[in-house]
């Protein structure tokens, strides 16, 4: 198998106009091709009319390129960027509620929280709510450790990502000729 045919984790950053139905337009493309979305994160940008969607999926490079080309054809899509491995920074925010019945359990959890530079954001007689930020390795490790104490519930934002260096996702936006010719739309 050549490297391009290998299934790896693919990250797509998509800048979209904040219009009705845009999220379903974007996700529909993945489901139609049978690609499973591992994580999806949406938030606004510095421009309130523009949102940024980060999609993570398992797939080949060719799959990622195909889906990027298809995404580019959608009218509300401003730009699409495929992020690869070490060239990008990934972060996720996780909130979890964990059982902490006695002082011992609480102390032990606090120690782990300190090591991970997480934060206790709420406390009750028998539980703690903790917030942690990091790349996937860190959050996964933290969740594994916490599960020993008994997880009550968990909420994750999904990964967001950004390319290192000076470049901007906006550099990739469709140009006027493409609008004129409709190449990408």
């Amino acid at each position: 198998m050549s490297s391009s045919a290998k299934m790896t984790r693919q990250t797509l950053s998509v800048l979209v106009e904040n219009s009705a139905g845009v999220l379903s337009q974007v996700t529909r493309l993945f489901s139609r091709k049978g690609y499973n979305i591992e994580s999806l994160a949406v938030g606004t940008t510095d421009d309130a009319r523009v949102s940024r969607i980060t999609v993570i999926l398992q797939g080949t490079d060719r799959m990622a390129e195909q889906i990027a080309a298809q995404l580019n054809k959608l009218m509300p899509v401003i730009s699409v960027q495929i992020l690869t491995g070490k060239k990008a920074i990934y972060r996720e925010f996780v909130m979890l509620k964990v059982k902490a019945d006695g002082k011992d359990a609480r102390d032990e959890i606090m120690q782990i929280v300190n090591v991970f530079r997480a934060a206790v954001v709420d406390i009750s007689r028998s539980s703690l709510m903790i917030a942690v930020t990091g790349d996937e390795e860190k959050t996964e490790a933290f969740i594994r450790l916490m599960s020993d104490f008994g997880l009550i519930e968990i909420a994750r934002t999904g990964l967001i990502a950004m390319e290192r260096g000076d470049g901007s996702i906006r550099d990739l936006s469709k140009d006027r000729a493409e609008y004129e010719l409709g190449k990408s739309i």
């Binding site: 959608l74 000729a177 190449k183």
Partner: protein
């Protein structure tokens, strides 16, 4: 000036130079119809028997004229009846703007009478679908819809307008078509583009690479697809290249007419039901230049065995088509006509060594001889087909000579496409004969459109290959399912001759080829439309 949303829609159609629309009224869209009544001197509305017929008609109009087709329908079932027509237009990249009206904004999402989320339903089969909730957004949206439908890779666009938005009044000012990209969202898109860094247009170096690939190949072949038909001037450039540089060409079903069928360098339609010559050319070539094709499974068959000895170069206006189905050695994203023109200039002094030879004339089966008779009597007619055996016989037998001469639902394969599309074609190009080649199965699906044909005096000749069965499915049952013919026999269908007469049209029956020839020539001479029911053998196979 402040005018109603309904009137804005009508004014926007005039801005686009629309003179013909197809549709079906209903309560939600009633205000738009009232405005069209006031503009009836400028815009002709053709009322079909069913919204599906209107959708196919607008599609057929677009394919035959190269202009954007327009189709109107009301909310709920009116809108959903369009779906097959929208999908057919989408699969074959036909520019159509569909305008539907929905219930009042306050009722949206409450399962009101005749309410349906048509923008959601149509999302996967349109280039874009819009929901307009206020009159103020209407002009910008409709202008954008027309630009989107016709530019780049053409295709259908749907605009759904709420009932209240047709009544509301909003500021409207006439804007000439060429100014449209300077306002509204189009303006934003354009500005967004101006900040971008990438260079527009086709890169000359890419074309040079393609020319180099040609020079170093021994058995080059061009495969022309629907993109060559849709792109203005592309067919002429293709003919110049093939004749001038001795490069053989084949086409897909959607590319028929790009090369004249009798051209020495043209080897027919490739694919599952294609000609042996064309498929041999694809099998043996060492360089395949595919222009405006999307490598449908009907063309490639098993991808692994497609053009086994060839490097593939792909020219397409849609970036997303590149490497979608077939991995290519080289590609150029651009308009077919422009790229072929640039390639032609690059090939100065080059001539490919001849490597393809035409095999002798094929023996035609009876239905194919009927098609040949049509060609003999009306070589310049616009040929519209439905879907099934008759379509394949027509596509591989009729000698098409120009782009836009064949209208067929190649990608979606929608039975019932034919009569609607023929109505649209005839409404668009009044002076050409329009011959609708169909089967009894397909014809039954949308035959109420005979009423439309009669009412508007659109003289179409429908040639029905009547074998009282769904031939193509039946043939598969014969070949692969032990001859267990089930639900493919259509005996007891209506008498098409009487049916045509019931609509006030001429209805004739041909029991043999000579009867057919004299009936068709008589009908062509009279200039009047109608049907010829050709009795054919159900065991004829393709």
């Amino acid at each position: 000036m402040k005018i109603s949303g309904a009137r804005i829609i009508a004014e926007c159609l005039l801005e686009q130079g629309v003179d013909t629309v197809f549709g079906y009224p209903g309560v939600s869209i009633i205000r738009v119809y009232d405005e069209l009544y006031k503009k009836r001197g400028k815009i002709r509305h053709i009322l079909t028997a069913h919204e599906q017929g209107a959708a196919h008609a607008a599609d057929g109009y677009a394919r035959a004229t190269g202009r954007v087709g327009v189709c109107l329908a009301t909310s709920g079932p009116g809108a959903t009846n369009l779906i097959t027509g929208i999908a057919a237009a989408f699969m074959d990249s036909s520019p159509v703007v569909f305008i539907t009206c929905n219930v009042d904004e306050a009722l949206l999402g409450r399962d009101a009478f005749q309410e349906v989320d048509i923008t959601g339903i149509s999302m996967p089969i349109t280039k874009c679908s819009y929901l307009v909730r206020s009159a103020g957004e209407l002009a910008g949206t409709i202008r954008e819809a027309f630009a989107l439908a016709s530019r780049g890779r053409p295709g259908p666009v749907l605009v759904d307008v709420t009932y209240n938005a047709t009544a509301e009044r909003a500021e409207y000012e006439f804007l000439p078509k060429e100014e449209h990209f300077r306002q509204g969202r189009s303006e934003r898109l354009t500005r967004r583009g101006e900040m971008a860094l990438t260079q527009p247009g086709t890169d000359e170096r890419d074309v040079k690479t393609l020319a180099d690939m040609l020079r170093s190949s021994e058995r080059p072949l061009i495969m022309a697809g629907g993109g060559v038909i849709r792109s203005a001037g592309a067919a002429e450039e293709l003919r110049r290249i093939c004749r001038g540089h001795g490069i053989p060409a084949v086409s897909t079903m959607m590319g028929l007419g790009a090369m004249p069928s009798d051209d020495g360098m043209f080897f027919g339609m490739a694919g599952m039901y294609g000609s042996p010559d064309a498929n041999r050319a694809v099998r043996e070539c060492d360089l395949l230049i595919a222009v405006g094709v999307r490598f449908s499974d009907r063309v490639t068959g098993d991808i692994g065995g497609f053009a086994p000895g060839a490097r593939i170069a792909h020219v397409d206006i849609d970036r997303a088509e590149i490497d979608k189905n077939v991995l290519t050695a080289h590609h150029i994203v651009g308009d077919a006509g422009t790229v072929l023109g640039m390639l032609s200039a690059e090939l100065e002094g080059y001539r490919a060594a001849p490597w393809m030879k035409k095999s002798g004339e094929r023996k035609l089966c009876a239905p194919e001889r009927i098609i040949k008779t049509v060609e003999k009597l009306a070589p310049g007619a616009v040929i519209v087909t439905d879907v099934g055996q008759h379509q394949l016989w027509a596509c591989r037998t009729f000698g098409f000579s120009r782009p836009g001469q064949l209208l067929t639902s190649g990608g979606f394969g929608a039975m019932g496409f034919g009569l609607g599309a023929a109505i649209g074609a005839k409404a668009g190009v009044r002076d050409a004969a329009v011959i609708h080649i169909t089967g009894d199965g397909s014809f039954r699906m949308n035959c109420p459109e005979l009423a439309t044909e009669a009412r508007y005096g659109l003289d179409i000749i429908s040639v029905i290959m009547d074998n009282s069965s769904l031939g193509l499915v039946r043939q598969k049952q014969a070949a692969e399912f032990g001859g267990r013919f089930y639900q493919t026999e259509l005996a007891g269908g209506p008498d098409f001759v009487l049916l045509a007469r019931a609509y006030g049209l001429r209805g004739e029956r041909a029991e043999n080829e000579s009867e057919f020839e004299s009936l068709l020539s008589d009908m062509l001479r009279s200039g009047k439309g109608g049907i010829i029911d050709c009795i054919t053998d159900k065991d004829e196979m393709i």
